[in-house]
């Protein structure tokens, strides 16, 4: 069953002069128990999409979509109150910068306790307190923090970035959500902690059948364990499909450039040999090119590229390019 189904999501920012289209007609869907990745460079609108799904973007952003279906219910048509309840019950999000997203004035224990579902509404208040303490302790052990007493009794600024990140994850999984949106959960961490966080997310996915939407700008991090990859460039979906297919045969020049910039996947690259790199830089949102937004940087660009290419679908693997890299086999 489709868990999340997003069709033609467009996010626009109104400024005094013009309307900037930060995310341009993005569609994707997610089945239960799957791990999907949104990959793209900074400014490509990955975080905006995540925030639009959860519904935490402020008034200035104009969100339109044909549908954002969550288990068959269109989130766009719910009243704000209903939407808030649905989202808080089933969807959790880990934000980008853990030490800034935690409340600096409250202790970790109180912050985690706040997110717990009505822990033991029943019972005498002493029992309720004890239950709550036990639940918080169990959660914090689950994410791999051993000295729970010291951590629970401290403020966010006293903890390292890695521990803060784990606390964020503990808060996110407190209500056992169906979908976890992880917005660059490992950018601030070094390699050993990063591996721990990935192991934790992986085990949550396998044991609890939790779907995960990973947002990242590194392809190699998520390559091993995600079912599908969606590649974004400047707010346009350029390629989407099952992970192994994309790694085996990228169709879009941008995906190919991403893959070729990974030393691990590029075979036959000698020591200290230059990488394959696209020329130029990412355009700013104020000066987006028309048509295919990769156009000015694309090595294969031709006259037709001033028209936005439509998404071509071929056995689960879709790409938006007028001149895909390998012609389809007949």
């Amino acid at each position: 069953m489709q868990l999340l189904d997003v069709r033609n999501l467009t996010i626009e920012l109104r400024t005094s002069e013009t309307v900037i289209r930060a995310v341009d007609r993005v569609s994707f869907s997610l089945k239960e128990g799957e791990v999907h990745a949104l990959v793209g460079e900074s400014g490509s609108g990955k975080s905006l999409i995540a925030k639009a799904i959860v519904g935490v973007l402020n008034e200035r952003w104009n969100i339109t979509a044909d549908r954002i279906h969550w288990r068959g219910v269109d989130l766009m048509r719910l009243t704000p109150e209903q939407r808030r309840q649905t989202v808080s019950k089933d969807i959790a999000m880990i934000y980008q910068d853990p030490s800034r997203c935690l409340d600096p004035t409250a202790k970790i224990f109180n912050q985690i306790a706040e997110t717990l579902p009505e822990v033991a509404r029943k019972g005498f208040f002493l029992k309720r307190n004890r239950d709550r303490k036990d639940r918080v302790k169990a959660l914090i052990h689950k994410v791999g923090i051993k000295n729970h007493e010291a951590v629970l009794d401290s403020y966010p600024h006293e903890l390292s970035e890695g521990v803060c990140q784990k606390v964020m994850i503990a808060m996110a999984i407190a209500r056992t959500p169906k979908l976890l949106i992880a917005d660059e959960p490992t950018t601030a961490l070094e390699s050993t902690t990063r591996a721990q966080v990935f192991r934790l997310l992986k085990s949550l996915n396998q044991l609890k059948n939790m779907s995960i939407l990973m947002i990242s700008h590194e392809l190699e991090e998520i390559a091993d364990w995600s079912h599908g990859i969606h590649v974004l460039y400047c707010g346009q979906m350029v390629e989407a499909g099952p992970t192994h297919k994309i790694f085996k045969q990228p169709r879009h020049p941008y995906t190919q450039a991403l893959l070729k910039s990974l030393p691990d996947y590029e075979q036959g690259l000698a020591h200290k040999e230059p990488f394959y790199a696209l020329k130029g830089t990412i355009p700013t949102l104020q000066h987006l090119p028309i048509g295919c937004r990769l156009g000015p940087r694309c090595p294969q660009a031709q006259k037709e590229c001033v028209v936005t290419p439509s998404l071509t679908k071929h056995s689960g693997h879709s790409y938006a390019c007028h001149f895909p890299l390998i012609k389809e086999m007949k």
């Binding site: 460079e41 070094e190 030393p263 691990d264 990488f275 830089t281 990412i282």
Partner: protein
């Protein structure tokens, strides 16, 4: 052959408070030694708190060591905490180039300041040097009239390179300068690094946690743990056959 950079028994301790009046010595780096030749790259890897960034600061002269020597082409430039007052041979590039550039100066003014304080070039020579440096890092001559906020992240990184390169250094210290960038920009910057190394024989000291990148561009690797060198050797041999537990754990994930 004379090594470009030689570090002998470098140690650094910090004073930390222990109680109301007592102070405790905290050793950040213990007896670090390595040497690196012209046109080679050495990578420093390790977990947070292992003293990587302190090592970078000591090399660049932003901080003084407690004991040990740093030799540049045979000349002692730092001896037991006394630094020869020249910053032009070892230059550093910081992690966040957007935050380490002065927002109130144009790129040209900033580069001009570097030259004014460190060389005795006259105005014409300085202008010429700025132009040649900018084109060397892949920017246009016109970019010197721009302010930092007018550049994208990748271009800012190039500006940071220009600032480091303009004094013709022999060693460049890169403190996480490439790993925080987006993949396609990172490929460009790495290519630029490799090109500069080929053309001018620069020596890089690279501090990063991006292991596949380390494997691709470095000749030697130092693995630090709690201020001590746990492994030091040629990149391929360390990656293929890690000896210590810490290295194995770092490489396995």
């Amino acid at each position: 052959m004379q090594p470009t950079l030689k570090v002998q028994a470098l140690s650094k301790t910090f004073d930390v408070r222990a109680g109301l009046f007592k102070r405790k010595k905290f050793e950040v780096l213990k007896n670090i030694s390595f040497c690196i030749g012209k046109g080679e790259t050495i990578a420093v890897i390790g977990e947070t708190g292992s003293g990587k960034s302190t090592l970078a600061k000591l090399l660049a002269g932003a901080d003084n060591a407690n004991s040990g020597q740093i030799l540049l082409e045979g000349n002692i430039i730092e001896d037991n905490g006394i630094r020869d007052n020249q910053c032009r041979h070892i230059r550093m590039i910081f992690q966040d180039s957007g935050a380490s550039l002065n927002p109130g100066l144009t790129i040209g003014d900033m580069l001009d300041d570097c030259l004014q304080y460190n060389t005795d070039f006259d105005e014409e020579e300085r202008a010429e040097k700025i132009n040649s440096t900018l084109s060397k890092v892949g920017l246009l001559v016109d970019h010197q009239h721009y302010y930092p906020h007018m550049f994208s992240v990748g271009q800012l990184q190039r500006v940071a390179f220009a600032r480091a390169l303009i004094l013709d250094p022999k060693v460049m210290v890169l403190d996480e300068a490439v790993s925080s960038l987006d993949p396609s920009i990172r490929a460009q910057i790495v290519n630029l690094l490799l090109k500069l190394q080929r053309e001018t024989g620069l020596t890089y000291v690279m501090i990063t946690h991006h292991l596949s990148l380390v494997r691709h561009i470095s000749d030697q690797v130092i693995v630090l743990d709690k201020g001590e060198v746990v492994e030091y050797g040629l990149t391929e041999s360390v990656f293929n056959n890690p000896q210590s537990k810490i290295t194995q754990r770092l490489l396995s994930c």
